[in-house]
């Protein structure tokens, strides 16, 4: 009976979603960005900024992309395989792909050798100023050697000589770097330093994007570095037909797109630059935008007013790709930036102290600053972001971590918070730390931008949470401000007790997250730049980090069995969280008014594919809350 009922429900949902799809859809999309997020360069190889890549991913096709569930999807490549368990990867290109100019006039065929030209460009010190070079250098055989060769040659022969280097057969690049291309067969073969099961996800990222040698011939090396929308070549779903910096960009459906028959595109996508989301809301009301994210004041205004015209159109957005953590600092200085803050350093090195924070801090009010209707939608129990990696049977990797932790998301109750446990750990911590000479209350220094009133209000909420959940006799949160650079003014002089930071992945593997936290590893970004764990002296703390690092190293070595790899990473991550070496914090889940079915969009929690305006389902009228809920349910049932 239950089965029958669920079948009927699923059928109803599918039918209701089908009815949205058959309704009138938008042919021209009007979207927006705030002015601080204007595109800075049209050169896809020369950018590591999301604001650029969100546009550029529509203009040039990479080998692979993602679908609306985050799975890898073929794009310029029609097939890919690894003949040796992950050390060599062969991509075969589709036939009939072309490069065209902004007017859609065909300029050249897309060739396998374009991927070699693109990689040569990225690795050439004199051409690309090292942008995007780090990932290929870590993964592809000979890439670091070639980068160093071009760097040394720049010094000895000058930049102009190095700019003459190409990826042609017989070149230094072809001899050194692990990429082999066959234009006839349309194959690109990457040889890696070690077997990497997640390498195909790197093929969605711009470090492995193609570049036509004919375009460089036409523009020159400097000309391509400074390329604009007017002289670049396109191979993607859209070309740019109008651009005025800080005003708007118009993307128009490419007339010669190779995949026209298999994908749904808008006739035009207009990206309007607006001063703020408040102005964007005015534009949405005037029909000049097709979606808008709501600030908390507007959201409350609409939500609390049943007669508001948009009261029934509030839609909860999907989480962004950033997994926010409360990164604890283990070697902190006082406000002078030089004297060690022994009180904090001793306290945070104590596991019971950290656990009292972990179980005690009820961050619901903090989440409400982002999502005042369903604050618990923002809760995060893991370090790795949701939807980054999936097991062979399609299970999200973070579900393995949550199983290890014994936690699951409950949108009615903040499952991690346990005041009894928190009190127990607090008592133990006070006893142990008092003996170690720590004075209470311990001051936790938190830094925000002095220019942001929003950050100041949020910090006030956080201060209240610390006060209510932990007690003023135990920990006091002290909010301080920096002027313009968090890195320069706070992070480098080690003045903060913790940072709340979001990390988004570049490729689909937990190592992209956990690799940032390992002990005594120069490549581990958070260990070196934030937690300063390598300078900590507490033996128990170091032992916990070493235990975690050993587990990460062991998991990383498993390359032939993806399920075993993820199971091992889940154990490592659970170890990291159980020792409370970080405190998982939140996701960004906002509310919006929209004519777009968010569940039809490309949804990638890593890389740069999420803003592709392809295969979107839309409506000419804003979706209602019920319709959006049905879309979510249908998506979950897929």
């Amino acid at each position: 009976m239950k089965k029958l009922l669920s079948l009927v429900l699923a059928l109803i949902m599918v039918l209701s979603v089908a009815s949205f799809a058959s309704a009138d859809e938008l042919t021209n999309l009007n979207t927006y960005e705030t002015q601080a997020r204007e595109l800075e360069t049209w050169n896809i190889h020369y950018s590591q900024a999301a604001a650029d890549l969100n546009v550029l991913c529509n203009l040039i096709d990479g080998l692979l992309t993602n679908d609306n569930h985050g799975n890898l999807k073929l794009n310029a490549a029609k097939a890919y395989e690894t003949p040796d368990g992950g050390k060599t990867w062969v991509f075969t290109l589709n036939e009939g792909m072309t490069w065209f100019n902004k007017d859609g006039e065909v300029q050249a065929d897309v060739l396998a050798s374009d991927w070699a030209t693109g990689l040569e460009w990225v690795l050439n010190y004199a051409k690309n100023d090292s942008y995007n070079a780090s990932m290929p250098m870590e993964m592809i055989a000979g890439a670091e050697e070639y980068y160093n060769y071009t760097k040394e040659l720049t010094e000895s022969e000058g930049a102009e000589a190095v700019k003459e280097l190409t990826a042609e057969a017989g070149s230094k690049f072809a001899e050194t770097v692990g990429i082999a291309v066959d234009d006839e067969a349309g194959t690109i073969t990457y040889t890696l330093i070690d077997a990497l099961p997640y390498f195909p996800s790197v093929a969605t990222y711009n470090c492995l994007y193609p570049l036509s040698a004919s375009l460089i011939e036409e523009l020159g090396v400097d000309g391509y570095r400074d390329v604009t929308w007017e002289d670049m070549w396109y191979s993607g779903a859209y070309t740019v037909t109008y651009f005025e910096n800080q005003n708007q960009k118009v993307l128009t459906k490419s007339p010669n797109y190779w995949n026209d028959a298999n994908c749904k595109r808008f006739d035009t996508v207009t990206i309007k630059m607006v001063e703020s989301v408040a102005v964007a809301y005015q534009l949405f009301q005037a029909g000049e935008l097709d979606h808008v994210s709501l600030d908390q004041a507007t959201l409350q205004d609409i939500y609390n007013n049943e007669s508001h015209p948009y009261h029934n159109n509030l839609v909860e957005a999907r989480p962004t790709k950033y997994s926010y953590q409360m990164h604890l600092v283990y070697n902190k200085n006082l406000e002078d930036g030089t004297t060690p803050d022994d009180n904090w350093n001793k306290a945070v090195a104590n596991e019971n102290f950290r656990k009292s924070l972990y179980y005690g801090l009820d961050l619901t009010d903090y989440f409400a600053r982002t999502n005042s209707i369903n604050p618990l939608s923002c809760q995060n129990f893991c370090y790795t972001g949701n939807g980054v990696a999936f097991t062979s049977d399609g299970k999200d990797y973070t579900s393995l971590v949550r199983a290890e932790l014994g936690l699951d998301y409950d949108y009615e109750k903040y499952a991690r918070v346990d005041p009894e446990k928190a009190a127990e750990y607090k008592a133990k911590a006070i006893e142990e730390l008092t003996a170690a000479g720590v004075t209470f209350p311990v001051t936790a220094d938190y830094y925000i931008s002095g220019a942001s009133t929003v950050a100041a209000e949020t910090a006030k909420v956080l201060e209240n949470i610390f006060s209510t959940c932990l007690g003023d006799d135990y920990v006091v949160l002290k909010t301080n401000t920096y002027i313009s650079s968090l890195a320069n003014e706070v992070r480098v002089p080690r003045k903060a007790s913790f940072f709340i930071n979001g990390w988004g992945a570049d490729f689909a593997d937990p190592i992209n997250f956990l690799g940032q936290e390992t002990y005594n590893d120069t490549a581990a970004y958070y260990s070196n730049a934030y937690s300063n764990i390598n300078d900590a002296t507490d033996e128990n703390l170091i032992a916990a980090y070493k235990e975690f690092t050993d587990l990460v190293v062991a998991a990383k070595a498993i390359t032939n069995d993806i399920d075993a790899r993820y199971a091992a990473f889940a154990k490592a991550e659970a170890c990291f969280i159980n020792h409370v070496l970080t405190i998982p914090c939140s996701y960004e889940v906002a509310w919006e008014l929209t004519k777009i079915n968010n569940y039809s969009k490309v949804y990638s929690m890593y890389g740069m594919q999420s803003y592709r305006y392809v295969d979107w389902e839309t409506s000419t009228e804003p979706y209602t809350t019920e319709q959006a809920a049905a879309q979510a349910a249908a998506y979950a049932a897929e």
Partner: protein, 399 residues
Amino acid sequence: MVKYILKRLFQSLITVLLVVSIVFMLLRMMPSDYFFTEEELIKFTDSQKYAKLERLGLMEICQTCHGKGALEDGSGCPDCKLSVQDALGTGYVGRNVFSQLFDFYKDMLEMRVYNAKGKEVKSIDPVNFFTYLSQKSSGIDPFNGKLKEGYTAKATFNLGKSIRLEKNQYVTDVIATKMTASMRISIISLILSLILGVVLGVLQARYKDGVFDHIGTGYTVIVNAVPHLVIYTVIMIAGSALFGLPMRYDATANKPYLTMVLPVVCLSIGSTAGYMLWTRRYMVDELNKDYIRLAKLKGLDDRRVMFRHVLKNAFVPLAQYLPYSILLTVGGSLLVETFFSVPGMGPELTKAISRYDLNLVQGIVLLYATLGILGVFLGDLLMTMIDPRIKLTGKEGVR
């Protein structure tokens, strides 16, 4: 007079050079981390960071170790080691700021080479403008035979390229595009507010202490007292709801001039009040003078007195600021342009400073310094033209 003009121009040039040089050096005193985004700080390796600083002209490869950070015996390079604790050097050393400044001025005189299609040709090294002229006049080919048929060389006043806001685009090109957009709305607004402000100011003076004068004063007080952002929001919402006017500037719209209405209105609100205020004040001053009383006693009609005598004299102090206001249209308006997404100069300097776009900051500072000095200078000249009694040279009445 010619001597005076030449002297003022020379003084202006020195002032501009001083301003630009001071700003140039101040910008280079900032810690290097400011030249990276938070994203770049996270993702860049040390080598990537140094490579970027080298390209910005802030650092250069260390000549002692040739960028390796170590000497031949394997010990750390003493010249590029950051501290004695470091085993190796970074391979890079900071560039002398005066040599950077010299290069900045040298690059301004660079000739750029364009092919027949008007595209900049990169493979030919550009030459210095003076070298180009001297070699050309001596019959020597400055480009050593590389300048193919159809290619041209132009002096383009190179201020470098933007490093953040419009990465790798010439600062002069960025400024030219932005200036055009700003001037498009600012000039209309200037003409509108000048006409409205002066006419309404004259009427206020004519009917001093009357209802119209009180309404005008009320308007001036309100415009100056209420925060401009509030006024703009009201205008935006009212303009859209009542008249169906577009809320943001859009050059691609079917009727692009309609999208300029709200920004122009917002821009004119404040300056109209300003012109009203000063016209009224100067005219009331003039109205109380003896020659006006005499003119009235002699039976001249009011209109003739107001426009022929009072306005003419009252306009002299206003005229001094007119060239400055016209030149200022190039600079646009920070608030209005940000609010209505006008892609103009207004927000550019603030954005360039907040993102540490060195070359763009220098370019805009150079432009604003030049415009400011030129505006005052032209204002002085215009005053002497309108009122011949004012002398810029000589012993009496010298300004």
